[in-house]
């Protein structure tokens, strides 16, 4: 049986999740040149926020009711943490040497993991997440799970919405201006502090959507899920060209596809038998990152119009 269509689909689903998380890295980096290494945990807390809402809801609530409420709950938690981190951890360090906010981000990442680990009931092991009551569907040789459908739909809505917002709205134009030249943006009357908060909030919102999708896809959430996913999403952002939102989307999909392909087919290459399978997926993902950094350090879409002096 030809497994290629199924693997391509798997790659696309995984890539959509990476892309959703990568948006948060790339938008924040594009505006304040900060790698927010706590972003993986913002994704994780989004999943837990949604789970909390689910546990609050009376037993037997229809999923059609529950899903929007879970999304709202996850989004509130993630956005509050993202915006709070900006306000209280990163803003005081603006203008400090680059290393200071970076270390702060790593510290925040560990703190958030440990807070959930220690304080969320039973979070020391995986918490099972509710499942969507439809699917799996079969499309020719491809089997699609309900979580994947949710992921791809949510991803598409978020990405087109963001592209539309950035391109056409006044605030979107102000975000682009702030990313390109913050001082001059202020001369235009743009409150750049507000723009930075909006960038963190959008990143948090998308991370929450990704966190809920993760729960639906894998059937559980756990306190450490943000580490790997965050690292992959960061890779996707760099792969696509950090600072570029289309790059984050593309980088996510490319990374997802590469992982799926490597997992399924590397072992078919003579002499590479032992390097296939899920265990090696991340290795291939990061090898791809290294290759891109060597051959095209600005990332896939990182090309810039020359700034003439």
């Amino acid at each position: 049986m030809n497994t290629l269509p199924q693997q391509l689909a798997n790659g696309l689903f995984l890539g959509s999740m990476y892309g959703l998380i990568a948006i948060g890295y790339t938008m924040v980096y594009g505006i304040v040149q900060l790698i927010n290494f706590a972003h993986g945990e913002i994704f994780m807390t989004g999943g837990f926020g949604a789970l909390t809402v689910w546990l609050w809801l009376p037993k037997g609530t229809s999923m059609w009711m529950a899903v929007p409420l879970m999304l709202i709950g996850g989004a509130i938690v993630s956005v509050l943490i993202a915006v709070g981190a900006e306000r209280f951890a990163y803003r005081p360090l603006r203008g400090a040497p680059r290393l200071a906010p970076l270390i702060t981000a790593i510290g925040l990442s560990l703190a958030l993991q440990q807070i959930v680990f220690n304080l969320y009931p039973n979070a020391k092991s995986n918490r099972s997440f509710p499942q969507l009551p439809f699917g799996p569907y079969h499309l020719g040789s491809i089997s699609i799970q309900s979580g994947d459908i949710f992921l791809i739909a949510a991803g598409a809505v978020c990405m087109t919405g963001l592209a539309f917002f950035v391109r056409t709205s006044r605030t979107g134009r102000a975000m682009q201006a702030t990313a390109q030249d913050p001082d001059t943006a202020r001369l235009m009357g743009i409150n750049t502090d507000r723009i930075i908060v909006i960038a963190f909030a959008i990143g948090g919102l998308f991370a929450a959507v990704a966190g809920v999708s993760y729960g639906f896809k894998y059937g559980n959430v756990d306190y450490s899920m943000g580490f790997q996913a965050g690292l992959k999403a960061f890779t996707a952002a760099v792969l696509g060209g950090i600072g570029n939102i289309y790059g984050a989307m593309l980088g996510g999909v490319v990374l997802g596809l590469a992982e799926a392909m490597a997992t399924a087919y590397i072992s078919n290459i003579p002499g590479m038998e032992q390097f296939g399978g899920q265990a090696w997926a991340s290795v291939w993902a990061f090898i791809l990152l290294i290759l891109v950094l060597l051959l095209r350090p600005q990332g896939l879409l990182g090309e810039r119009v020359a700034d003439r002096a």
Binding site: D183, L187, M188, G189, N191, V305, A306
Partner: protein
Amino acid sequence: MTALLEVEDLKVAYGKIEAVKGISFSVEAGQVVTLIGTNGAGKTTTLRTLSGLLKPSGGRITFDGQPLSGVPAHKIVALGLAHSPEGRHIFPRLTIAENLLLGAFLRTDKAGIDKDVQRAYDLFPILGERRKQAAGTLSGGEQQMLAMGRALMSQPKLLMLDEPSMGLSPIMMQKIMATIAELKAGGTTILLVEQNAQAALSLADQGHVMEIGNIVLSGSGQDLLHDESVRKAYLGED
């Protein structure tokens, strides 16, 4: 009647280094005032402080009757003080049209904005021809036109131009200077910083010569243009 812009004993320091050491000058509505002087005299620092990008370490700035101390940059624009920065600083990856719209960021009168975009295209036809092009693809002179057009989009009471002729070909420089003269004739109040003293002084009602953080000489544009020490120091005569 008080001046539109009143600067009193303004001091600005970068860390311990004082770049502006207590200067005073004023700009009346309708006037063109120029600050001339060599590199490092503190001209750009003065403008960046007036527009709120730098915090003064002492002195007073009053614009249109309102003290500017502690007012953040994005609110100073709203008061009617526009700044076309040194080095042009257009947004390279946005189109020309988008750059102009950003100049009108705080305005909400859609019809008026459209009219002023058109006025910028009339003033600089090349911008109109290339309105959908990324601004980073423009030549230096065209970028300068865009920076000036963008600053005008906020309908400023005072337009500050920092080195508009820097790095331009002689023809382009003439064009920019002619545009400034045109704006002046139209009644725009301008604070002009220039290294091209000849061009700046011939346009200006008032001129101030800056040297390492101080104003060392002030007078009408014509007086300074004929002042012997100015001719020696800045107009290349001996």
